[in-house]
Symmetry: C2
Subunit: 437 residues, 2 copies
Amino acid sequence: MNGLLTDLYELTMAAGFFESGKSDEKATFEVAIRRLPPHRNFVLAAGLPQIVDYLLNLSFTADEIDYLRTLAQFRTVSPAFWAYLQKFRFTGDLFAVPEGTPLFAGEPLLTIRGPIIEAQIPETYLLSAITFQTLIASKAVRSAEASGGRPVVEFGTRRAHTPEAGVLGARASYIGGCAATSNALAGFRYGIPVMGTSAHSWVMSFPCEMEAFRRLQRVLGDSTVQLLDTYDSLEGARHAAKLGKPLSGVRIDSGDFLSLSRQIRAILDEGGLPEAKIMASGDLDEYKIRDLVSAGAPIDMFGLGTQLATSADAPHMSATYKLVELDISGIKRFTAKYSQDKISVPGSKQVFRDVARDVIARSGECGRGEALMKPVILGGRLIEPLPTVEQAREHAAQSVAKLAPALRQLEVGEPWPVIYSRELRELVDRTRHNLVG
Amino acid sequence: MNGLLTDLYELTMAAGFFESGKSDEKATFEVAIRRLPPHRNFVLAAGLPQIVDYLLNLSFTADEIDYLRTLAQFRTVSPAFWAYLQKFRFTGDLFAVPEGTPLFAGEPLLTIRGPIIEAQIPETYLLSAITFQTLIASKAVRSAEASGGRPVVEFGTRRAHTPEAGVLGARASYIGGCAATSNALAGFRYGIPVMGTSAHSWVMSFPCEMEAFRRLQRVLGDSTVQLLDTYDSLEGARHAAKLGKPLSGVRIDSGDFLSLSRQIRAILDEGGLPEAKIMASGDLDEYKIRDLVSAGAPIDMFGLGTQLATSADAPHMSATYKLVELDISGIKRFTAKYSQDKISVPGSKQVFRDVARDVIARSGECGRGEALMKPVILGGRLIEPLPTVEQAREHAAQSVAKLAPALRQLEVGEPWPVIYSRELRELVDRTRHNLVG
């Protein structure tokens, strides 16, 4: 399954390693955060279960292998390689930072260790899967912080980069602190709370707004959330107030949210509906939420779509997948990249977090504080069930609460201190000396 | 299949329509481009086959229905609705602008017509699927224009928003004019040319670069593309030159591409390798490609990753899914939204494109020039096979070549004239008058 869902060069490299007699060399690759995305003080790790699922099921069908055999790049490859690919399974190890853990520039997210071919092929899939959910969770946590406790609901599937990205984005948003999602499949698949209001088409499909509102109440009862802005939001609010209960609340989707929410609150209160909630949606992001909250807008709940589902102000993240270590018949060799503007750090690593700083150390070192990188898959087997999405969300909330207050603000502040252990620094120097003199 | 891959409110609206006796009302919904994304003079339609596939296979499993029944929002819904959902199939019509067609602000991309529930539920999926590929194709066409005929290869799966988005992004990039993709699954599934070079891990896995380069030649023969920047790009070029043939070319992935490409060209030429191609990749976009091309950089091919795969300067697109028309027992009613800053245009539409302008007309009107919107699905059946990805790419190339030169530049220029036909203007006025007086 999914064998071809990778860059072709992973497969030509695989053939090359095979033909060069390197199949038994054990490689350690690391996914690390090269730089934080703009506007971020940290990222929040997310996406691990999708990676585990991929590694445990990675294989090649006969049709996929037949396709590869038609390509010029594999013309000289021996039949033994195709036989190898047919039986291919991931038999290696995966170490990872748990979902919901804040991370900083330079830190590792995942370590893969196994026969070099098995560790090479997953590069493309792993980078995409882990950085996407991490980006979305990192955006979600900002919105949740900005809303001052008011629920933020993820509404963005229609703007996500494919519908499936919407499902996974909903998952990551929930881990980052969203209260619910509009995505029904995310609810079904991951048990995330789902929420929906009403559509403009609903209102438009009836001869008049009052009729549309009345019929919605009949169907949804006290789950009813009336959408006010099909024609005019204030007129809509008057219609909702006139109809009274059952009513959960109303949603405004356009206009000046501060002024509208105040006027609508007054209309609902005068109509004897002080418990009716006001939800705002439409081109919102964490900055607009913060401004509305600090201006005292009587908005009880925010719906976040486009900006969250695409991480619009930081739609990509600079993460690398680098070979850090080789074990050739028991002899270790450390590797790094030393090109002009992109260097990598050799050796497999651990991160220790205490109250004052993070220390990136060599794996096997002892350190102070919590060790962030944990074993997940050993010898091709999942060692224990992964935390649920609820547990990951809880872990995120607790971990973010422990961060220095400056890191939890929307603006970029003083970075959290991240240093290398002495052993790691020595390894960097020694490797550089060996490789480039 | 995929029944729950939508926003919950599509399903509560479905229940509402059902319970309100509206199941037989025929609705026409339209996907339209509200605004062009920033930095774009047009967008290039892409993603239609994924939408057709969705509509032809849309259904609900028993488990999915059981899940919905647990939700508070459906508490009062009658058993007849669940029986309806169990047999749900899309039996309506789809009209669409062919893949590879340039479109402008205000223009429709798709029209869905069918029983109102069948046309409501697809909203979320359709918007996501069509806008994502359209965004990527629109970015790709800019890169292809900027490269002045030099091949641009899509390398972005690792940065795409999920691996599957990488596959569909590769597809859209190819339609937009990329010459190939690195994504092996996109090659297998859609027949797109695939390309790969070599990985830093390959070089790092050997004791020295020369050895790594030599081994690669042995495996890949004249498909060999040596990656130069693991340690030092110029030193890498000297190693490649020393080894000589077989060699297809070299790739630089960091550093100052203009100066490096000139020096590397000289090294390769002096080494008797004037046919060896130079490829550049790493944080490129259409602007950097244009600058390198106009500075005369001897780069033969560009690899585009992050910026293309995420449409980084415009990661989302403002497209709407609006009810434009209802047919209730043969009586037509036109609908539109008139909220403060988001209006919609009633009635089902056609777009006529001639040499001077586009005219958005009512469907059924005659007009001058080419009618862009074509029937795709009628009565739940695909009327003829869709164009292949090759045909879509060819259509894109021809259509873009016909655009006014100012629209093909990277900078935003004078917009292409898009006007409403007199009949459509009259319908807008009449509908507004009926709805909001």
